[in-house]
């Protein structure tokens, strides 16, 4: 059964009515074409008014739609000749992360992303797309392989977070995320990151350090999930919707903050309504940005990548009143840079 969100209900009803009417046209020989045109005009209007005014929380739920394309779907829609490569060469092969070599516009690229399942069985096998440390180590291995062979890297990000499990902690979840972030930052190849669904905290950032960071219209990216935020703030997961507002996790906010570079618009009603359509969109954006950054030397790319993150942060230099409350001996000048906004 198709998942229908509550705010889609009026639209779905209208769509069903249109379908009924269509069936009538075939069954009886009455002319409903005028009514049909009118209804479809209405549906179009409704669709727009619904999907263009989604609240942040609705967007989070769209990003989690069970029919939403997964990483492997995008790989099939956007690339040719994907060869999946497995394993971290130290501990295991995490099925919650897929990666390998594929062809994009006749050129080999390395593609990596967390992988959710399409049904319960696959979700269990893929741990609901929640990676263990070996998943991040596999990603890092494939990224370094890409660098060795001078292939661009494309990461497709759709992950609530790194798995909070006992064994994941045991095998250094935090450490491996840090290693990914650091090492990805210095890779001498073009990197494009596309947040296709959920961009959950460090688990997303671990494969999110790129030269261009794109985001689908109904994706979210945040330091913490709205539920967990609500839980911490008000001890009430039910208030996730409010938290989603506070966190400014939508593509529009993040574009304004210059955290992302562009928003990939989705087919009306969401990517899951038109796989071919979203595939074409993603392909077009990738083509545009990849050709843009391919023109830049890799040394410059790395420099720009570092600069990009270096300047993120909002703070102000403190007025130099006597810091009487802490008995520090004196102040030295600060030669180092930084973005004092």
């Amino acid at each position: 059964m198709r998942t229908v969100f509550e705010w889609e209900q009026p639209l779905v009803e209208l769509e069903e009515k249109i379908q009924e009417l269509r069936n009538c046209i075939y069954d009886q020989e009455v002319d409903f074409s005028e009514e049909l045109t009118e209804l479809e005009r209405k549906a179009d209007k409704l669709r727009k008014s619904i999907y263009e005014r989604l609240t942040p929380w609705q967007r989070v739920r769209m990003a989690r739609h069970p029919d939403r394309p997964t990483t492997l779907d995008y790989i099939e829609l956007v690339f040719d000749d994907f060869i999946e490569l497995h394993g971290d060469r130290t501990f295991g092969d995490d099925k919650a992360v897929v990666g390998g070599i594929a062809i994009f516009d006749q050129e080999p690229v390395t593609v990596i992303g967390p992988q959710k399942g399409k049904d319960t069985k696959e979700n269990i096998a893929r741990n609901f797309g929640l990676p263990h440390p070996e998943g991040y180590r596999k990603a890092l291995r494939l990224m370094k392989q890409a660098e060795h062979f001078r292939r661009p890297i494309i990461t497709l990000i759709d992950v609530v977070g790194a798995y909070p499990g006992i064994e994941a902690e045991q095998r250094g979840q935090g450490l491996v995320i840090a290693e990914c972030i650091e090492q990805m930052s210095f890779l001498k190849v073009p990197i494009i990151c596309v947040i296709t669904g959920e961009g959950g905290s460090g688990g997303a950032l671990a494969i999110g350090v790129g030269d261009r960071i794109l985001m689908l219209e109904h994706a979210w990216y945040s330091v913490i999930s709205p539920e967990m935020c609500a839980n911490i703030l008000w001890k009430d997961v039910e208030r996730a919707s409010e938290a989603a507002e506070l966190l400014k996790l939508t593509p529009t906010d993040l574009l304004k903050f210059e955290i992302i570079d562009d928003i990939i618009t989705e087919p009306l009603g969401g990517a899951h309504r038109d796989y071919e359509g979203i595939g074409r969109q993603v392909k077009a954006f990738l083509r545009r940005y990849l050709s843009e950054i391919r023109k830049i030397s890799v040394d410059q790319l790395v420099e720009q990548r570092l600069k990009r993150f270096r300047k993120i942060g909002q703070f102000q230099e403190k007025q130099l009143v006597e810091p009487k409350h802490v008995k520090l001996n004196s102040e030295v000048d600060d030669e180092s840079g930084g973005n004092n906004e």
Binding site: E169, Q173, E331
Partner: protein
């Protein structure tokens, strides 16, 4: 942030009072002569506790201390020079965040959750940064991220090793949202650039080092030390236990657990920390 940690008495969810009390000049404890160890319940004479760097002489329990307090135990007397202080803004217009900052500044006498500057340790110069848990759980917002980053940049410019003593809770500063997350990238990159200089970075993990702080600069040390029984990990124990519905191992996410699992170089008591740091610095001149 606190809520993500287990509320085992051992780690004491340090009641704000206790936390404050250790910060030299607060009132609560100076009135009393004795403190009860949060681990073994021994009554300890306050002067003894202070003399022993707030380590229980009976069971070795390490009390949580403020950044200022810790500074005294780690650097040579009068050797510390702070960098320019920075203060937070409110990039998301998050409700009550500015008020929270002001309150924490008043409580801790810090500008934000970090104290950082240049100092000497047994004669060896270094950039030294200390995270203070009492300031919004020692979480990393723009100020902490920027100061850490500047610390590493200072290390490169001044040809100095860097020591960061972490003890931040959940790591992320929720109120700064995506800006907080991005500090993970910024600081990890700062370590990476610093690494290219061939200088030494020692990361010291104290209770608790979790989340975004552990998953960025804190676990990228050339050498990683930890105080005994510190909580070290990515996801908080409560989340792990709720997600997995499994009983957590007894020593889950302790320093000892991290050592056994190959994640840290060695465990050092607070009392021995300064000498080990000094020696490591002297090995990397």
């Amino acid at each position: 942030m606190l809520s993500v940690f287990r509320s085992k008495p051992k780690f004491a969810t340090v009641r704000p009072k206790a936390a404050k009390s250790i910060n030299g000049k607060s009132r609560d404890l100076s009135d009393n002569l004795w403190t009860r160890c949060e681990n073994c319940s021994a009554l300890i004479y306050n002067k003894e506790l202070s003399k022993n760097m707030y380590v229980c002489h009976k069971c070795g329990f390490h009390f949580r201390i403020s950044a200022v307090q810790r500074l005294k135990y780690v650097v040579d007397e009068d050797s510390f020079r702070s960098v320019k202080p920075l203060v937070s803004k409110n990039p998301l217009n998050f409700p009550e965040y500015p008020e929270k900052i002001v309150q924490c500044q008043a409580d801790t006498k810090l500008d934000d959750a970090i104290l950082i500057g240049e100092a000497r340790i047994n004669g060896n110069a270094a950039v030294v940064g200390i995270i203070d848990f009492s300031f919004i759980g020692g979480s990393m917002g723009s100020v902490v991220g920027e100061q850490i980053t500047r610390g590493f940049e200072r290390g490169v410019v001044r040809n100095l090793p860097v020591i960061i003593i972490s003890g931040g809770g959940g790591g992320a500063r929720m109120q700064e949202g995506i800006f907080s997350l991005m500090q993970m990238a910024k600081t990890a990159q700062a370590v990476g650039k610093f690494r290219q200089s061939g200088l030494l970075y020692i990361s010291v993990l104290t209770h608790p080092t979790m989340g975004g702080i552990y998953a960025s600069f804190a676990s990228l040390g050339d050498i990683i030390l930890a105080e005994p029984q510190a909580l070290i990990g990515f996801a908080g124990p409560r989340i792990v236990s709720e997600t997995t519905r499994q009983k957590l191992p007894k020593d889950f996410q302790t320093s000892e657990y991290a050592l056994q699992n190959g994640m840290i170089d060695t465990i050092v008591t607070r009392v021995e920390m300064k000498d080990l740091l000094g020696k490591l610095l002297s090995f990397h001149l």
